[in-house]
């Protein structure tokens, strides 16, 4: 069987002698000082393509992708909402796109004003005292916030080595705690999805003075608002530990509640989720952190400050240092700033209302066909279990693949790990009722197929560019380059 190919690689398209762009001749005399021959390379095995070849190659590749711009993309915990084009247009403006990160502050007051404004707006939205825009992604924001907590605790003479994490947490939480040098203790949720206060109390008592923080996602990764959150914060604080919030699900809380009011001491925010930065196939994002006043001196560098009406970059007095070469993913920060400015307070509140209503609508329409992990009002996402369909012979993976045939990007599956056959749907505020109805109709049809023709699901997708791929061989015999 000859291997069929959807699109050749750049190297397969390469033809010696072709070029994709012209470059000028040198307009200066050739330097008499030549680089030492020993330092020069003799081969550079890059592909050689005509300009049209390059354009067609990447255009064709793009057409093999599904995206928010082309399909509903209800990927739970990822907040695949509208990515407004106006934000891209602003980011591409030369006044911002051509600003050099090492220019003196006096020459980049516009960029610094955007950053200062975003710092203030994110602190206001979350009810916190200070904000750092330095983290380059959500996971790096987590790391930064945990290092800030560590530095704060050390400054008051506390040597705490443990972080408590619900076992429903995103994998970055324990990985981050470990990168920051902490041990991880996991606690399970109770059956209604809220944190088990007895289990938390036991963990706090067992590890007592070594607990630095509780890392908790609110609303939780189960799509629920923990009704005991104030009590949890009190318990954590009573043990001298801090409350860390994973902001992955902030979209549900915009204008409804401020985490700072609930007792959170630190939190990271995913600008690529709540604040509409395009996901780009896996980045760039940005993970600003917001903290309470006692943690502010420990924020990473740089921080934007305003003195006498001028903006400047500053290093917090006891800061944890830099997280990246420059000041954060400015292009992402710029889009988030524009997004908030285009919505205002009422608009942000309308976002969370619509996101939560949409998720509850999907929950209501699919309740009879799929098992709910927790049958109660959900927030911005709804968590089902495919266990009923699995009993008929179609697993959650098969349901997900069948959704592709109906033209919907699959939701998040098998996360959180604590729910069997998890299927997590986050419609976001961006979808119309018509789209939600068509999506629910498709899900109901798939539930019927799971009972009557499970093999149809097991062999799905039937209508995608490729059928299921052999991931085992890919991992056993890795081919990672041409």
């Amino acid at each position: 069987m000859s291997t069929q190919i959807l699109e050749k690689t750049l190297m397969e398209l390469s033809h010696a002698g072709r070029v994709g762009v012209t470059l000028p001749e040198s307009d200066v005399p050739r330097s008499a000082e030549r680089p030492p021959a020993a330092l020069l390379r003799d081969e550079l095995p890059l592909p050689e393509l005509s300009q049209l070849d390059v354009v067609r190659h990447f255009t064709r590749l793009s057409q093999l992708n599904w995206s928010i711009d082309t399909h509903m993309y209800p990927l739970g915990s990822c907040t695949m909402k509208l990515n407004p084009k106006v934000n891209d247009a602003i980011a591409a403006t030369p006044a911002f796109a051509e600003a050099h990160p090492m220019q003196p502050a006096e020459d980049v007051q516009g960029a610094l004003a955007v950053m200062h404004g975003l710092q203030r707006m994110l602190a206001e939205i979350t009810g916190m005292d200070a904000c750092s825009l330095a983290p380059l992604a959500g996971a790096q924001g987590e790391l930064a916030a945990v290092l800030v907590i560590k530095a704060y605790l050390e400054s008051i003479g506390e040597h705490r080595t443990t972080i408590v994490v619900p076992d429903s947490a995103h994998g970055t939480n324990p990985a981050t705690a470990s990168m920051a040098g902490f041990d991880v203790v996991a606690v399970k949720p109770q059956p209604d999805g809220d944190m088990d206060l007895d289990a938390l109390r036991a963990a706090l008592e067992e590890h007592g003075p070594t607990v630095a923080a509780l890392m908790i996602t609110l609303p939780s990764t189960l799509g629920l608002f923990d009704r005991n959150i104030v009590r949890i914060a009190e318990m954590v604080h009573a043990h001298g530990a801090l409350m860390y919030g994973d902001g992955a699900n902030l979209n549900a809380m915009l204008g409804q509640v401020k985490p700072g009011d609930l007792g959170f001491d630190a939190m990271h925010i995913n600008l690529h989720k709540t604040f509409s930065q395009p996901h780009g196939g896996g980045g760039p994002g940005a993970g600003p952190i917001v903290v309470s006043a006692r943690l502010a001196p420990f924020l990473p560098s740089p921080h934007v400050e305003q003195v006498d009406g001028r903006y400047a970059l500053a290093d917090p007095p006891h800061g944890i240092g830099r997280l990246g070469a420059f000041h954060g993913n400015f292009g992402v920060l710029l889009r988030a700033y524009a997004y908030i400015r285009s919505l205002g307070a009422d608009g942000l509140r309308a976002i969370s209302e619509a996101a939560v209503l949409n998720a509850n609508y999907v929950q209501a329409r699919l309740r009879g066909a799929y098992d709910l992990a927790h049958d109660r009002t959900c927030m911005h996402e709804v968590l089902f279990s495919g266990r009923r369909q699995k009993a008929h012979g179609a697993k959650t993976l098969d349901i997900a693949k069948r959704m592709i045939d109906y033209g919907y990007h699959p939701p998040t599956i098998y996360f959180p790990l604590v729910v069997d056959e998890a299927l997590m749907i986050e419609p976001t505020e961006s979808e119309t009722k018509e789209t939600l109805d068509a999506f629910c109709d498709a899900m109901l049809e798939i539930a019927r197929e799971a009972e009557t023709q499970p093999e149809l699901l097991r062999e799905a997708p039937h209508a995608a560019p490729l059928r299921r791929l052999d991931e085992a061989t890919a991992a056993r015999k890795p081919i990672l380059r041409w």
Partner: protein
């Protein structure tokens, strides 16, 4: 299908088969089924000292990684190079060609802490 009668089992789903002066260790057919497609095994070097029921390596499927626990104390004599190169042998023949290690036992009395085939089958039947 009942587990092979010629060996002992651990609750961590490893099997051990005595073979002359030494023993062969692997994971059970039940374990490989739970793991799915095995893509990688990370095993201790020959000469490594093992302590019963402690971690001795890792076994990975596409989307999971599990610790391997040695069913007995002793010294690693040999690693099954074929399974390192073709981890799918664990899926294809967990009780045969998919064996992992040959071990010299340091304390034969430890075998009493392992399960018989009948006990193991009852254990996995839950």
């Amino acid at each position: 299908m009942p587990s092979p009668a010629d060996r002992k089992y651990s609750r961590e789903h490893e099997w051990l088969k005595l073979d002359g002066e030494s023993a062969i260790v692997g994971v059970t057919d039940y374990a490989q089924e739970q793991l799915g497609d095995v893509v990688y095994v990370d095993l201790p070097e020959p000469g490594t000292a093992l302590t019963q029921f402690e971690k001795m390596g890792e076994i990975e499927s596409v989307k999971a990684v599990s610790d391997l626990f040695t069913p007995v104390s002793g010294e690693v004599l040999e690693v099954n190079q074929q399974v390192v190169e073709k981890p799918e042998l664990v899926n294809n023949d967990a009780h045969g060609a998919g064996w992992l290690l040959r071990v010299r036992l340091s304390d034969a009395s430890e075998l009493e802490k392992l399960l018989s085939p009948e006990e193991y089958d009852a254990f996995i039947a839950g």
